[in-house]
Symmetry: C2
Subunit: 205 residues, 2 copies
Amino acid sequence: MTTSRAPGHRERKKQQTREALSWAALRLAVERGLGNVLVEDIAAEAGVSPRTFNNYFSSKAEAIVWRHLDRVRHIAELLRERPPGEPLWDSLTSVVVLPFGDEGARPDPEWTAGVRLILGQTELQGAFLKAGAEAERECAFAIAERTGTDVGRDLYPLLVAAAVGAAIRVASEQWLRADPSVPLPTLLRDAMGRLAAGLPAPNAE
Amino acid sequence: MTTSRAPGHRERKKQQTREALSWAALRLAVERGLGNVLVEDIAAEAGVSPRTFNNYFSSKAEAIVWRHLDRVRHIAELLRERPPGEPLWDSLTSVVVLPFGDEGARPDPEWTAGVRLILGQTELQGAFLKAGAEAERECAFAIAERTGTDVGRDLYPLLVAAAVGAAIRVASEQWLRADPSVPLPTLLRDAMGRLAAGLPAPNAE
DNA sequence: CCGCAATATTGCGGGATGCGCACTTTTATG
DNA sequence: CATAAAAGTGCGCATCCCGCAATATTGCGG
């Protein structure tokens, strides 16, 4: 649980194995389809026994989605590093955009394929959302610190975290769907801006 | 079993069976714990063969969560029935609160137990969230009609739907956690109000 | 540098699941 | 009433998830 006083070198290798497994799972699933990948294959790809796979992940889906979770998890940390004076929603927006590369940056085909796989395969969506929810809870704590609220009693921090999670999710979906490719950070900023503005109905026209 | 006398309502019986299965799954899982319930038991409880269970649901989790999905699904319909003049967020709030009973109403122990089970058991959360996401997509269409936007091109309707879904989720969790029981509709209104207000940081004090 | 204790990995095995396939029963239609 | 369509059923298999116990690896103190 507490990561602090470990000598690290052992934990390090574990994390390495975990990453290798997650990576292998994603790669195989992308290239030959989720249904045609056995746990056995993933383990082989990562150089461990099939049984070991389940020491790290309790399902294929969990393994594939883990990289995402790890990524979004950083958002909470990043949020804590923001200058305390900054308005909350400015912090949130910066922090949400950050892990997804700079505005004009590379799509990163590896990442794109992963997102496409996850959002496409029905069986992964559950795990994906669940991972997202976990990440949200961590963010909620950071938000609570920031706003002087209590995760246990006030609904505010969890609500904000969930809303932000929703924004990320929706922006990502739209990003994949967008025909003339629009940079994800742009979509994220748009979504966050609307949230902060109270999601007013767009003056249609 | 009741043979529906009216012709054509084969669909009716199917729905009936589906409901029986979902109901049985929920009931058994609540009373003896999810891990101690076999598909076989659920099927027996509903009076069909185990194989038939999988014709309706592809997992225990899906069966349990289905009732929830069915419930939330109505929100989209309800939204379409609102007077077109009403401000969007007023409509949304009404419609969100509606399926969960009136303000001062019954807790409905059956429902409470179900929610508690779903939010507690890790294995159900994925399915639960996935079902929620599906419901959100349906709501998005209703919102798009209402606001003259396009689900395929604009990110607005999906964003609003996802935010509303987040509000429902968070409010429900808080409702279970609340020590001096607070009515769920109250929490829902609170959450929706904050969303519509742009989730301003509460003036701490 | 060595042996010991903690921890990680592995193999085995069983219970349960999800689903394809073919067969039987029920229901709707002409 | 005959017959086709659709739902329910039984069987079997590939896979999965996990507990348990044995083994290998790692880190630490002497």
